[in-house]
């Protein structure tokens, strides 16, 4: 029998078999495909909260009645002043209060009048994310008050306030809107990456360890179909299922954007059909390698359960490799593009930032994944007969 014809027959059968496993597919679709947009929505709701908090221009104080000058300044900045609850420290600790509290001493105004530096305390909890995020805003506001008072004093003494500035410091953000959004949406490539793993995992195990466990591998090997054709056909089906789930996961972000609650995030996050197609293109070599590696591990196992335990190594490796970028303070390194999963994560992040990905950037990952795929398929072909008879 023609080798390709046999491989096609196996491919078609395995694909039908995998797609009929509705229960598993539904779980994978829910966990891998729906999870990404869900996280995006949660993220946007978080950003929305931060934005609303910033827009609210509220400041929480204790003892502001002792500081009419400061009150005047805050009101001129159009801030709404709220009195802090008596147990504000406990509330900050318990995450029940989401704003830092400005504590003014009773002697504030007299000390200010005498040219002494009154002590203003800004109370927050570093374990309270909401309160900590408001610290910058409050500190800038108080810094502004201080700057204003200093300027007035210097003018009163006939000194030019510009003397205080030996240089003009201005910040200049070079990140474009897509790159800024990538800071927030940087975890999305990770979800797509895991969709490839979970998409192909069940099919990889079922076509190898599952086949051994139910006793259908021996009859299959008693047919005249070449071992290589059987392996290629099975791998092709696993690869397609993995890529299908990955494609659905990528595509789900396109309509997922409609659900974004934060207007600024929605404006910054641009994930269209082009980005989705680039993601699928980048993920295809990884899906091929993962399918082959998981099959190679599973063919050694007698049962599906044993194979599940063994393939956790792959799942762990794929989930941990991208995390390396978090620990690496030096940013992107050239070798990242040679490590499967890390390479795809790096390139997908670039796509998200709107940085063009050249063929030269993608080639190392494609090359390594292709080599892994070929080696793993050769190993499975060798193992197939040996394991069937065990």
């Amino acid at each position: 029998m023609n080798r390709w014809k046999a491989a096609w027959t196996v491919f078609a059968k395995e694909l039908v078999d995998a797609l009929r496993d509705r229960r598993t597919l539904m779980v994978v679709l829910l966990s891998s495909v729906a999870m990404g947009p869900l996280v995006l929505v949660l993220l946007s709701s978080l950003v929305d909260q931060f934005e609303k908090r910033a827009e609210a221009r509220e400041i929480v104080t204790v003892g502001l009645e002792h500081a009419p000058t400061l009150r005047n300044y805050l009101e001129r900045q159009t801030y709404v002043i709220r009195a802090a609850p008596a147990d504000f420290e406990a509330r900050l600790k318990d995450n029940k209060l989401g704003d830092p509290v400005v504590v003014i001493p009773a002697t504030f105004e007299s000390e200010l009048a005498h040219g002494e530096a009154p002590r203003i305390e800004v109370v927050f909890s570093s374990s309270n994310g909401r309160a900590q995020s408001g610290m910058g805003r409050v500190m800038r506001l108080l810094q502004g008050f201080q700057q204003e008072r200093v300027t007035l004093r210097m003018i009163a003494r006939g000194v030019a306030p510009s003397l205080l500035n030996v240089a003009r410091v201005e910040d200049h953000d070079v990140a474009d809107s897509a790159a800024r959004a990538a800071q927030l949406t940087g975890m999305l490539p990770f979800f797509v990456l895991m969709a490839v793993v979970y998409g192909s995992l069940n099919a990889a195990l079922d076509t190898t360890a599952g086949e051994r466990e139910r006793g259908s591998l021996e009859p299959l090997l008693a047919t005249p179909a070449a071992r290589r054709s059987l392996v290629v056909g099975k791998w092709g089906a696993v690869f397609c299922v993995g890529l299908l789930i990955a494609t659905l996961s990528c595509v789900s972000f396109v309509p997922g954007q409609i659900l974004l609650r934060s207007e600024s995030l929605a404006a910054l996050f641009r994930f269209g059909w082009g980005e989705a197609a680039r993601y699928v293109g980048l993920l295809a070599p990884l899906a091929a390698a993962l399918a082959a590696v998981m099959m190679a591990i599973a063919i050694r196992c007698r049962t599906f359960k044993e194979a599940q335990a063994n393939t956790t190594v792959v799942v762990l490796a794929v989930s941990l490799l991208p995390v390396m970028t978090l620990f690496n303070q030096e940013g992107e390194a050239a070798w990242h593009l040679w490590v499967p999963a890390l390479a795809q994560m790096t390139l997908m992040t670039r796509v998200l930032k709107g940085v063009p990905v050249s063929a030269a950037d993608a080639l190392p990952g494609v090359f390594v994944c292709a080599a892994i795929t070929i080696l793993a398929l050769a190993w499975i072909t060798r193992q197939l007969t040996r394991r069937a008879a065990q």
């Binding site: 029998m1 046999a6 078999d17 006793g215 009859p219 090997l221 008693a222 047919t223 007969t385």
Partner: protein
Amino acid sequence: MIRMEALHKTFMSGRGRSARAVTAVDGLSVRAGDGAITGLLGPNGAGKTTSLRMLVGLVAPDSGRIEVDGLSIAEDPQGVRARLGVLSDARGLYPRLTARENVVYHGRLHGLTREAAEARCDTLARQLGMEALLDRRTEGFSQGERMKTALARALVHDPPNIVLDEPTNGLDVVATRALRDALRMLRDEAGKCIVFSTHIMQEVERLCDRVVVVSHGRHVAEGTVASLCEQAGCEDFEEAFVRLAFGTEGAKP
């Protein structure tokens, strides 16, 4: 026609210091002709399954020669497999496929066109009395239904030689009878060469034209049921088998 000559197979059991060589097949020779059912009778662990796996090419013999219709398994494994229909002890089916899809899949792997495989599946379903099962998914099939589907799968390419490893294991009386009838039909009407491994005396007595008694991987006796009883010097076939397979140690006092 199936010929197995002077087959030897040794496996390594255990690892490291506890590793030891276990001889599964030790010089076994079997010859099975066309139009006959040849029984491979032996106790558990006698080397029957290993011999049949060597015949199919799933296990390579350490030495010896295997030929099917003049083709050597060592030189032309695919040619040999194309001429064999194998019902091994592993009778697993694909639970999410229907019985028909299971059978047609194997037919396609044997090089049949989809139409030819479908037509052959219908013919076998009629012969094996499994028309009602054909379009049901095999998940939840009874042992008998599974056996019928597995047998149809093994016969889909109409092989001239049929190999069955302990085919009645786990079958009830009705399913066993149905299997026996199917095998007789294949022998009498189609002139197939059938090799049948078992450790059940009644199966051999009722079905086999020739019997090869195997013990400890070796060929210990061969002939018809009557001639084996004669060789052992007793009328009861079970007693004759015990004497032939285990010598006088296993025989009744």
